[in-house]
């Protein structure tokens, strides 16, 4: 951490909101995060990359979120915004992902020395039929007529409904209001990491939507606003607030 960063850390102990603002002032879009550590991401943390045409499918759902199956080893990145459109529209943020055995038999590592996963699957072609990739997403809003509501949908996502990654424009539009942060912070799985990853991706989306200025443009303004909202929501939990803010800094 440089001197400036240390100063901000010291100051942050005085006031959560002050800290939030200071942290955001430092933020820029340069060198945004490496892709999350999924086996193979459908997309990195940069929503400017063209969207791959992969979709998932809801396999389990409740009001608070859903689990979706995805093509093998292709998980949407942590914190990315998903959209389920089947009658209504539900927005949700990826909070976990995994690849596991389809029938409950635990995979046993054979340490056979294959250079990479693809060549391993070439040698053992049946494995593609026995593994499945899934991600969990926490519901953060839904479409209500022309309005996007940042609270839980009236009913769960329908089983087998298609799920897709939102584009940068959709992500920027959805995150204009920040009420969804409360739902993210209450997520039972990796809530702080998910919130931070979601803010990083949303900031990049705002930069893209705002024309992609070199200084970070709308992305930086978005993060400042988000930091203030986090400070309000986590006023009584300064350590948690610090933890999230550190994760949205470059």
């Amino acid at each position: 951490m440089n001197d400036s960063g240390r100063r901000h850390s010291e100051r942050s102990e005085e006031s959560g909101e002050g800290m939030a603002h200071a942290a955001m002032e430092e933020t820029s879009n340069e060198g945004w995060d490496a892709p999350p550590q999924t086996l193979r991401s459908a997309q990195g943390d940069n929503p400017n990359e063209p969207l791959p045409q992969i979709t998932g499918q809801v396999v389990q759902a409740d009001i608070a979120g859903f689990t979706a199956g995805w093509p093998l080893l292709q998980t949407p990145p942590l914190g990315s915004l998903l959209k389920v459109e089947d009658g209504g529209t539900i927005f949700a943020v990826v909070c976990d992902a995994r690849t596991e055995s389809i029938d409950g038999r635990p995979p046993v590592a054979r340490l056979s020395g294959e250079a990479d996963l693809e060549s391993y699957l070439e040698k053992h072609p049946h494995l593609r039929h026995l593994l499945q990739t899934k991600c969990d997403a926490v519901a953060v809003g839904h479409q209500d007529g022309d309005q996007v509501r940042h609270y839980l949908p009236p009913s769960p996502a329908p089983l087998f409904a298609p799920v897709r990654l939102c584009s940068a424009d959709e992500t920027a539009r959805f995150s204009r209001e920040l009420d969804f942060l409360k739902l993210l912070l209450a997520s039972p799985t990796h809530s702080d990491e998910t919130t931070a990853a979601c803010l990083r991706r949303a900031a990049a989306a705002h930069t893209t939507a705002g024309g992609g200025s070199a200084s970070g443009g709308d992305g930086r303004a978005f993060l400042v606003r988000a930091g203030k909202e986090l400070a309000r929501l986590l006023g009584t939990e300064p350590q948690r607030l610090t933890s999230i803010l550190r994760r949205v800094r470059p």
Binding site: D103, R105, V108, L121, E122, K123, H124, P125, H126, R128, H129, L130
Partner: protein
Amino acid sequence: MTLDFQQLAAQLDDLGPQLRSQGEEAGQRLARALAEMRAWARRPDDLRRRLAEAQTSWRPAEPLSEPLDAAIDAPPPPGDYAALATDGSHIDVDRHSALPCYLINVGWARIRYGRSPDAELSSRPELTYGDRRLVLGDPTDASRDAPLRGNLLAALRSMREVERLAELAAAADADPAGVCLPLLALVDGTFLLWGLAREEITAPVKRYLLDEGMIPALDRLQALAQERPVLPAGYVSRPDRSEVVHSLRVAVCPLPRVDCRACPRRDDGSRPCDDVGVATDRQLFGALLAPGQRSAVFLRQPTPGSIEAQYYGDHRPAAFYLRTPPGGADEIACVEAPLWLARDGPPQADVAALHALLLDQCRRNMGYPLALMEAHEQAVITGPERQAFGRLMEAEVAAEGLAAGTSAKALSKRGRWL
């Protein structure tokens, strides 16, 4: 809990000493059996003659062409081949259920290795209900109608597994380059429908299951094998057979022509052949074979009038023992191949190919052929699935407005009525 473990524990007190004592005796018998095996391997004609003359109720086996004590290494497996396996499970007719019916689920795995890898794992359930379809009728005598349940249903399931194996083997395409790959075609266990050997099984039942089912399926596999490299085999993990031990018993009998009815028992009641009386062939070949090696191919002498002699003809199973390769569970397996495969072609070429492919399959799955394992996983009907099946049948019967008809006994098991 109704099993009284305290009473059970008291019965286990003698277990350790007994097992130790048995182990010492078994070690002595095994050493003698191996020595006899090596000695008789040098006298194949004498052994063949003694086996042919012997009057025993056992079914001894003799080597088809290799030495009795052969321990043979496999050639390297081809890089490109396909492994096909079928397996089955069933839900038997339950007279306590709402709808008398049975379900046979045949699962399969077809895996292609090499330059164009691919796999198919799937299963096909077959539900049968209706009074007339739940019996194999005897056209001449209604009292001899055979209900399709228990052993008979198990035999029907085995027949379906081999039928499906033949269908899939016939449908196995060439690889994208147009080359017909060697195809290993496995079933779990044996091609022989042992369940039909019992006396009460009537001729029409045998005709249906063998002449109209199993044998035509084996015929199809044989015809395919004449066109392309198809290697059908039954794989028995941890077999309990003792046909080769029986042959050794015949070999060492002091009688010039073996006749068990005239056994020259010793004063302590033991038989002279007990000196080589190893419990199973598995122990014998466990001592003889190194990991990855196979034994000679053996052929059992069928009992005259047995289903093997009457129905199987050239499909009679020849068998070799296989010690699984290093790196997985170390066990002796028995591999059955139809006689036409074990005997045909350049000396044992198909058996060598079968050996090589089985070793490759075992290496891929900790000592048990991978395709067979995956076929089993596709076929197996789990406990919860069985319960769900029962509920589905009840719901279907109720939806038709018919009385559920569940038995009083089945109902009473569902809860304690107070």
